[in-house]
Symmetry: C2
Amino acid sequence: MRTIDWNDESKSVVMIDQTLLPVELNVIECKNLASLCEAIRSLRVRGAPALAAAGGFGMALAVTLSSADTMEKLLNDLKVAASTLIATRPTAVNLAWAVKRVLKATEDSYDLESIKDIVIFEAIRIADEDVEINKAIGKYGQKLLDDGDTVMTHCNAGRMACVDWGTALGVIRSAVEKGKEINVIACETRPLNQGGRITTWELMQDNIPVKLITDSMSGHVMRHGMVDKMIVGADRITQDVVFNKIGTYTHSIVAREHEIPFYVAAPVSTFDPNGWEDTVTIEQRDADELRYIGDVQIAPKNVDVYNPAFDATPMENITALITEKGIFEPPVLIDEILA
Amino acid sequence: MRTIDWNDESKSVVMIDQTLLPVELNVIECKNLASLCEAIRSLRVRGAPALAAAGGFGMALAVTLSSADTMEKLLNDLKVAASTLIATRPTAVNLAWAVKRVLKATEDSYDLESIKDIVIFEAIRIADEDVEINKAIGKYGQKLLDDGDTVMTHCNAGRMACVDWGTALGVIRSAVEKGKEINVIACETRPLNQGGRITTWELMQDNIPVKLITDSMSGHVMRHGMVDKMIVGADRITQDVVFNKIGTYTHSIVAREHEIPFYVAAPVSTFDPNGWEDTVTIEQRDADELRYIGDVQIAPKNVDVYNPAFDATPMENITALITEKGIFEPPVLIDEILA
């Protein structure tokens, strides 16, 4: 099944609850905006492209549940839903992008019913397009991987971060589909262990060999020649930096030190052509993420914690961006790529 | 109390069980070599200098429990105990150093009773000296810290890694004792979280301000000017590299990138003058350390794992070594320091 999808019969959003992986594969159903927003905030669904789908489907939920009896009221309900959805995760640009795209699509509507149809149609199209885009990213990106390569990745930019296939892991999947033998090293990605829980699980499902390491081992494994290339995803790409899961910047420095190519695979919906590093707010997450794992206490209860969800990697640390429009080496002119 | 000590009444080794920190402060008593070796292997006692004390006290246990009735038999029992102790942790040189020092001290003995006295005396002296050495390291090292500095550290090179005071954290304690205001950033240090569990706890006990981060945040916090200096301990220092907790090498690269001084604080017993990087075996630890935290599963049960306990940081990444004999900038001539 897809990571996240619209169930047109029950008018609900269905998704794999990623917080339970790899222990349990549980599908949950969000029947209203509150439960979808909770799922986004709790990272039951996460990953920039999957959040775009979640944003679109959130608008579909809103339009389905609205009791508005005029176009004006309905459009207002959608705007309120849009703000609520965008506020769940402030850094990821794709969520806002999808929500705005759905809103924009309603501009052509002429009556109440057509708005409902358009919103749902557009939300489904965003999800379908994501799969196509991932395949295109994979088609370009796989050319960068050689038979026998070991590729390191951080966090999860795989099927579970998207609707299907994946960005960084999509590139690896496309290379494997071409008959190349690829080994993966997955960094566990503290504090929420998306690498250890989700990337490993996804790749093992596909029988792609994967080895799990702690995040701080990246220097050691690179120094010992165990890594040929590194590929990560992205949460937002501005003119100057790539925002991605905290730790990405550290890996980029270590990769450059060892002359290992460092690739970022992301759809162009991740681009923020008006953004610069210092215009973006980095989400700060709960201190308890570093104090507990499940019920297990791993630090003093009241210890002071710094827990940004993302960091910024300057373009000069990146060998190339892999997108559905091709491969681009920095300096990247985002406006030209988007044109 | 000291981290580890000899109880002369019950003829046992008493220590704080560090695997239970910070949830529980539990003191355990090892009455035989098997329970002491288990405590070392399970990291109930860890940290290079504390392992030296553990090695010495292990010999004290062996001499106390031996039923040998001749000097020859007793010395043989001690040699067997020495091998058993050294085999518990292959990378840390201090453990072997202490065990050998105790063995060497018996060379002057003339009868059965004097061997017993000498072994116990020497073991206690090793522990006492460790405290004196830590204070000397602190006395030199504190000169490198300025009032208002934020110092980042990895793993635990504190009181709990030693008999008392600490090496890296001892330098910080000595600076605070001199009236300097020092803030600490502690990296949690996966997979066993010694930074999150022990360094934070130790510093909070002393009211030294400490902030906890994940290991991969080091680049991000340095890029944002949150770190003035980095200090770590060491498990073994050869002519060419410093072996320390896995992740140290990655931090050293990131520190150099941001022109942040990177100090290693360690007693000269950590020096291995005959060793080179490629002569040292890096201990590989159990895969389950990355698959579980307590009872909580954080990765697929059967995922392939790479789990070295240490990495090697080349001397050129190190600003200075802080020892009880003074501060030494690479290139370091270990033979001259030891002379």
